[in-house]
């Protein structure tokens, strides 16, 4: 069947403006059937453009503003192992429906909204953001057994329950990944099983904006006897390959199984199309390993704490770029994401001792505070920790002084960030936008538990000061999983940015909000 659409075509004329238009019938290219995909997701949704990516035979997408009347066909290019359709000339803050192949109608889950115009909040008044740290546990295996099956799904369900009951089912505008989103080695198959298969409808409706975690960077061999002495260890180490131990600075060195670099390089860089040239409003970084973009009145920066951060030349270049990017930023709110947290006392991660965390704190935290960053999110530690409203704390935990480094309430104690103690973007104490809240949200796929160290055990047990970083707020002991300065609970973060407020909430797997804070303009 041939269908037609009407086009208004300007024609040369010299009599009157009214006579200058004619209506022409042209064939609608979207008349066929949708074609199956192995993987379908969205990238770089902007106010006037978007990228639709998939794996499969189809070579084009059809889209339109009505689900049953798609009328625009966009041919795809092949990028690595994916197809990518670069869709341009879209209207801002508008819902589009799409189908892979030249289909006339779109499946209900294949729709997205373009971003509002730069500098403006969306029509609904709020940029609704979901942040997932260390969510990639669906594919985590040990000795051939899945160790956290369904846990990421529980967190997803918790978010959906929260969104329905407390957020009016507001559609998401952004999904930010905090690293370690495909355990254990970040292979392409693990990305499929731990991300695209766990959030299939979400990744078809919202752009994913990731950052590189250690579990994106492949594998090495580990002696399990170092974790817990066992009788069999007496006859020798028990070796197993494990992801997350790479210390390389080179994405080409990616090694999925411990036998040397894979030919295809880092799967993360093959899967995602990231704006290295400032395509979406940030300053060009020149590399997909770190980037920035605008979404309406929000500016987001994704830094590379895993690779670039480990090399002196590359870290210096990333810092200089960050200064330029933040200097150019005039959006209402600024969000920074990267994997290794500047402040944590996680079960296996201590920001006083791990070099990646130390470098992020010493090199980058001063830039965040000098250049107006509002909130910083990381993962790595599988728990939730949230700082006071900080300025100037770049040393180890024992150098933290709340009176010097935290915004204080009327009573002279650190302000909690909500109610009468909500934070102001421009600090009343300094008169400048010079503070940030640092959050560790690495429990979207599992939560650490208390594992007392046994005699001889050197790794994999709970540090004595677990979740006791003084830069982080305390939690009520009545909350399940509460430790003095953190929560050992599965969950994710929901961040909402209006024209005047930025609200961050930690939502557990039951949809309950266990912590929140508000920054106001």
């Amino acid at each position: 069947m041939t269908t037609f659409r009407s086009l208004v075509v300007a024609a040369a004329c010299s009599v009157s403006l009214a006579a200058c238009t004619t209506t022409t019938q042209v064939a609608n290219p979207c008349t066929g059937e949708a074609q199956p995909t192995e993987r379908l997701f969205l990238q770089q949704i902007d106010h006037d453009s978007a990228i639709i990516k998939w794996r499969g035979e189809a070579s084009a997408v059809c889209l339109g503003t009505s689900a049953d009347a798609l009328d625009r066909l966009v041919e795809a290019t092949t990028e690595g192992t994916h197809k990518a359709a670069y869709v341009t000339d879209l209207a801002a803050d508008t819902r589009y429906f799409y189908a892979v192949g030249a289909a006339a109608s779109a499946p209900p889950e294949q729709q997205f909204s373009t971003a509002p115009l730069p500098g403006q909040p969306p029509a609904d008044g709020n940029v609704h953001i979901w942040l997932l740290g260390d969510s990639g546990t669906q594919t985590e295996q040990f000795m051939g057994h899945y160790t956290h099956p369904g846990e990421a799904e529980l967190v997803r369900q918790g978010f959906l329950k929260y969104n329905e009951s407390q957020a009016g089912n507001e559609p998401l505008d952004l999904v930010l990944l905090l690293g370690d989103n495909a355990y254990l080695e970040g292979t392409d198959a693990q990305w499929q099983g731990a991300y695209f298969d766990v959030y299939p409808n979400i990744v078809r409706q919202v752009a994913t904006w990731p950052t590189i975690g250690n579990h994106e960077m492949g594998a090495g061999l580990l002696n399990v006897c170092l974790f817990r002495p066992m009788p069999r260890c007496a006859s020798g180490p028990i070796m197993m390959p494990i992801g997350g131990v790479s210390e390389s600075t080179d994405p080409a060195s990616y090694d999925s199984n411990g036998d040397g670099p894979d030919a295809g390089g880092l799967p993360y860089l093959d899967i995602f199309s990231l704006p290295s040239r400032g395509e979406n409003g940030g300053v060009a970084s020149g590399t997909e390993q770190y980037y920035a973009f605008d979404y309406g009145n929000v500016h987001v920066v994704s830094l590379d704490s895993q690779l670039s951060n480990r090399d002196d030349d590359q870290r210096a270049a990333m810092r200089a770029w960050l200064v330029d990017d933040l200097s150019a930023n005039t959006q209402d709110w600024t969000i920074v994401i990267f994997h290794h947290p500047p402040y944590t006392k996680g079960e296996n991660h201590d920001s006083d001792h791990e070099q990646a965390e130390i470098d992020m704190r010493e090199t980058f935290a001063p830039v965040f505070e000098d250049y107006g960053v509002d909130v910083v999110y990381s993962g790595h530690a599988h728990n939730y920790e949230r700082s006071w409203y900080l300025n100037g704390h770049y040393g180890t935990a024992d150098t933290f002084d709340a009176a010097e480094h935290a915004e204080l309430n009327a009573a002279g104690a650190p302000a909690i960030g909500r109610g009468d103690e909500g934070y102001q973007q421009v600090s009343p104490s300094s008169g400048a936008d010079d503070r940030a809240v640092y959050t560790v949200a690495g429990s979207a796929g599992k939560a650490d538990e208390h594992h007392p160290c046994e005699p001889g055990q050197r790794m994999g047990c709970t540090l004595p000061n677990w979740l006791q970083h003084p830069a982080h707020i305390p939690f009520d002991a009545s909350i399940e999983g509460a430790q003095p300065n953190g929560l050992a609970r599965r969950g994710s973060v929901v961040l909402d940015a209006t024209a005047t407020t930025l609200t961050s909430r930690f939502v557990d797997e039951h949809g309950q909000v266990l912590d929140w804070f508000v920054i106001s303009k």
Partner: protein
């Protein structure tokens, strides 16, 4: 494996997956591996890399010496080069890396390290050649490496070639501000002004850019343009949210305007 052991190992899985050991724990791990597989050359090379990171020079050298006896000796030479470079022994580092490159031609990391070693040894022409090969063979060269290459050319007294390298990198990676700024520092006259204006486009004509650009205009004898760009920057800053960086910048701009 018996069921009891399998069950015990399963209980460890969460802790294992949580673990991302640093240098010292990784060293302990490799110690154990080497005890069980003492003939594996690659294990000694990996441990040497960790010892190098931890500045355990002699331990690293011992491992590399052992590694040489367990296979093709050249396999140890990438790490040997890294170790020697870390110890400021540039010439021997070049020799080691050259041996490695006879085994693994055009290995990107070896080329990058040898470029740095040549540079440290004062052999800038050879450094230049290796940087060129490295960048040519990298699918997505990091801006930090391109900047290092241009610095070598500048040290060779070849600013025009350095500028060309930066322009080539800009064509590959887009209008990246660090590359543009480095190019600006090398260019003269009209070209410098043009690069400065490209930098302004890349940065959105920020007040921080204006301060740099005013200096470029002054050098080009365009005093009115310099003053105008500073006045625009001051007006911009007056309307922007106050951050410590912007407060400091405004002070500098006001000083320039007063001067």
């Amino acid at each position: 494996m018996n069921h009891a052991l399998a069950g015990m190992l399963l209980t460890l899985s969460a802790a294992l997956a949580a673990a991302h050991p640093g240098v010292h724990t990784a060293l302990a791990r490799l110690d154990a591996q080497i005890r069980s597989q003492p003939d594996q050359q690659v294990l000694y090379i990996r441990r040497a890399a960790l010892h190098t990171q931890a500045s355990h020079w002699q331990a690293a050298q011992n491992d590399l010496d052992t590694a040489r006896t367990l296979g093709d000796a050249r396999e140890a030479d990438l790490q040997q080069g890294d170790l020697l470079l870390a110890r400021n022994q540039a010439e021997p580092a070049v020799q080691a890396l050259s041996r490695y490159l006879t085994l693994h031609t055009d290995h990107p990391q070896a080329l990058l390290l040898r470029a740095r070693a040549h540079s440290a040894a004062g052999n800038l022409a050879a450094s230049r050649a290796d940087y060129a090969r490295h960048l040519q063979r990298s699918a997505a060269p990091h801006p930090g490496d391109a900047l290092a290459y241009s610095r070598v050319l500048l040290d060779m007294g070849q600013p025009a070639q350095a500028l060309q390298v930066l322009e080539n990198s800009l064509r590959r990676s887009g209008e990246q501000p660090q590359l543009l700024r480095a190019a600006m520092a090398l260019a003269q006259g009209t070209t410098r002004v043009q690069l400065g204006e490209r930098l302004g486009d890349a940065l959105g004509h920020t007040p921080a850019w204006a301060l740099d650009m005013a200096g470029v205009y002054v050098q080009a004898g365009r005093m009115d343009d310099a003053r105008a760009v500073l006045q625009r920057a001051d007006a911009q800053l007056a309307t922007q949210r106050q951050t410590p960086a912007r407060q400091a910048l405004r002070q500098r701009i006001l000083e320039k305007l007063r001067g």
